[in-house]
């Protein structure tokens, strides 16, 4: 119920083609999209979420073009987490997470006990239930990310698209979130755009993007993928396989 495929995806922003004929597929598990700045990673994620119009190609969820889905229908099956954005308004944590039920309740439905239970579970999973009555703008960046992740979980969507969820977080938070992704990926399709290469290499699969085109896609321990990765970063880093894990070494000396 959670196969996301793109076929010859083309996206233009401000008249410039940002994604060129991107064909890739995402299956249950954790896939990390990596690549240099300006590669179009966030744009790809937003196209997958159906948030931007396409200049060509299609995005299919389990064979069905997402453009044919209603907004609510799509929201029930694909959830998207923004990069950290400033938050306005006076919502509490619980009210924010409850917004995750919007795809199911619509504008008019009232939350039932089942909805409240789902909200509780989502908050427990991301360990933010203790602050459920605090306001969003009182929390730190890391805490807020956890709340937003809880909101995404509350939608019960089988596909989670996460745009740089660990940026601006310190290592303990990054590690905690990465552990959570692995846990969620067991039963869902998790796709995250990550800048942090060492963290990304913990994902099951990686997709390497450069200048709007796919350079490589493969498992995290695939040497061909490592080669493509170092090439896409202009050999600024070297990737070595050390035992079960790949290690990223920045190349400071020439």
């Amino acid at each position: 119920m959670s196969d996301l495929r793109t076929r010859k995806l083309r996206v233009a922003l401000a008249g410039r083609l940002v994604l060129h004929d991107v064909s890739c597929s995402f299956h249950p598990g954790w896939t990390a999209i990596v690549g240099p700045n300006g590669a179009g990673k966030s744009t790809l994620l937003r196209a997958l979420a159906g948030l931007i119009p396409l200049a060509g190609g299609s995005v299919r969820l389990d064979g069905q073009d997402i453009a044919t889905l209603s907004p609510a229908g799509r929201a029930r099956r694909i959830a998207w987490l923004a990069q950290q954005a400033p938050v306005s308004g006076e919502l509490t944590v619980r009210e924010t997470v409850r917004l995750g039920r919007l795809p199911h309740l619509g504008l008019f439905g009232s939350p039932t006990a089942k909805d409240e239970r789902i909200v509780d579970d989502a908050m427990l999973t991301t360990e933010c239930r203790d602050w459920q009555h605090r306001r969003l703008h009182e929390l730190s960046g890391g805490e807020r990310q956890r709340v937003m992740l809880a909101r995404v979980l509350a939608t019960e969507a089988p596909v989670l698209l996460l745009d740089e969820p660990t940026t601006h977080l310190d290592p303990p938070h990054q590690v905690a979130l990465a552990r959570l992704f692995k846990q969620l990926a067991a039963s869902r399709t998790v796709v995250s755009v990550l800048h942090d290469l060492p963290l990304a290499l913990h994902a099951d699969r990686l997709l390497v993007l450069r200048r709007g085109a796919v350079q490589a896609a493969g498992s995290h321990d695939d040497p061909a993928l490592h080669a493509a990765l170092t090439a896409s970063f202009d050999h600024a880093v070297r990737i070595e396989q050390r035992g079960a894990r790949a290690v990223v070494l920045p190349q400071l000396e020439d």
């Binding site: 998207w80 923004a82 954005a85 924010t96 303990p172 938070h173 905690a176």
Partner: protein
């Protein structure tokens, strides 16, 4: 998930979060009660204050007067209730505008409704004063029958339509705001052009710009009431969308909201409420801006509560200004817009002062 680090040592315990929850609900309840009580008291004050100011003996005399039905029933009561309703519409629009644009400085006049209404008023007044000279009597008579009220309403809607056309739909917030500013400036210049030709239009426009609750009768109250009865439920229905919008446009869209349609619905709601309020009582400043701030300060809540409470706070604010306008220098009257600016502006200043101290 015990591997997650403890975020901060001051993490709330279950007891404290429960306390927070209680505080929130209690604050909302307290604000609601305060607004209702204030409204009741102000309605009573509105019935008492007339062209003789605050005088208990004068009020008793009025009650005994044969003219009581006229003075109290036809003049003071509809004016009081009308002021409450106009304030309610403005407060509601202000809350919608601030949620739609995610900007605490937004007011309901942003999308060209004020400029459109005042332009229409100037147009009708100029035509009236030039009847027989530049335009035919028949046209002038038709325009006179149309009336200033209808003209202001139509003008407000036309102003918003113009803004929507300029921004090509309600897709982007920033574009909409810019278009609103442009429309405001252009229509303002057009108004000025007409007022140079007709001093009568200039006088009428100045009266309109300051706002006035002086001529609210039962006909006005009926229309305002109908408008409020339609607008409040619609606003409540759209309140969850405003909550989602506070997370950001893309996040709101990813939650399944049809953003273009919802934004259009919000803009239409804004236009209708503002148009109705402005057509009945002119451009009253500050009510739409301050009412949501007051509510957020006293009882922060999701938009479902904030919209309704802002309507209440706006009504109370405008009615208080109206009562003061009537009572301070009776039988003369201060322009109600001056008092809303004083009350509203004063409150904002106090807020700023508090923030600096705290």
């Amino acid at each position: 998930m015990s591997a997650l680090p403890v975020v901060d040592a001051a993490s709330d315990t279950a007891g404290t979060t429960a306390a927070f929850a209680l505080t929130d609900a209690a604050r909302r309840r307290r604000l609601a009660i305060a607004l209702v009580v204030a409204a009741v008291l102000l309605i009573a004050a509105g019935l008492m204050v007339g062209s003789q100011g605050w005088s208990w003996s004068a009020f008793r005399a009025d009650l005994a007067d044969t003219q009581a039905g006229l003075i109290l029933g036809e003049i003071r009561l509809p004016r009081t209730v009308g002021a409450l309703m106009v304030g309610g519409l403005l407060g509601l629009s202000g809350a919608v505008a601030q949620g739609l644009f995610r900007n605490p400085l937004a007011d309901p006049y942003l999308l060209g409704s004020a400029a459109g209404a005042s332009f229409a008023v100037v147009l009708v007044l100029t035509a009236g004063s030039m009847s027989g000279h530049a335009i035919g009597f028949a046209t002038a008579a038709w325009l006179a029958r149309f009336g200033l009220v209808a003209a202001a309403f139509a003008g407000a809607l036309a102003g918003v339509l113009l803004t929507l056309a300029l921004a090509r739909g309600a897709q982007e917030g920033v574009r909409l705001l810019l278009a609103g500013v442009v429309v405001g400036v252009v229509l303002g210049a057009a108004s000025d052009l007409f007022t140079t030709v007709s001093p009568e239009a200039l006088r009428g426009k100045q009266v309109f710009m300051l706002g006035s609750t002086g001529f609210l009768g039962w006909a006005s109250v009926t229309m305002l009431g109908a408008g409020l009865a339609l607008a409040l439920p619609l606003g409540m229905r759209l309140s969850r969308a405003l909550d989602a919008l506070s997370l950001g446009d893309d996040s709101a869209a990813s939650l399944g909201l049809d953003l273009p349609r919802i934004r259009m619905a919000l803009v239409v709601l804004l236009a209708m409420c503002t148009g109705l309020a402005v057509s009945q009582s002119g451009l009253v400043a500050f009510v739409g801006l301050v009412a949501p701030h007051l509510v957020r300060r006293c009882a922060p809540a999701p938009h479902a509560y904030t919209l309704a409470a802002s309507a209440g706070a706006g009504g109370v604010l405008l009615l208080a200004a109206d009562v003061l306008a009537r009572g301070l220098i009776a039988p003369q009257e201060l322009p109600v817009g001056v008092l809303t600016a004083l009350l509203g502006g004063g409150y904002l200043l106090w807020l700023l002062h508090r923030r600096r101290v705290a």
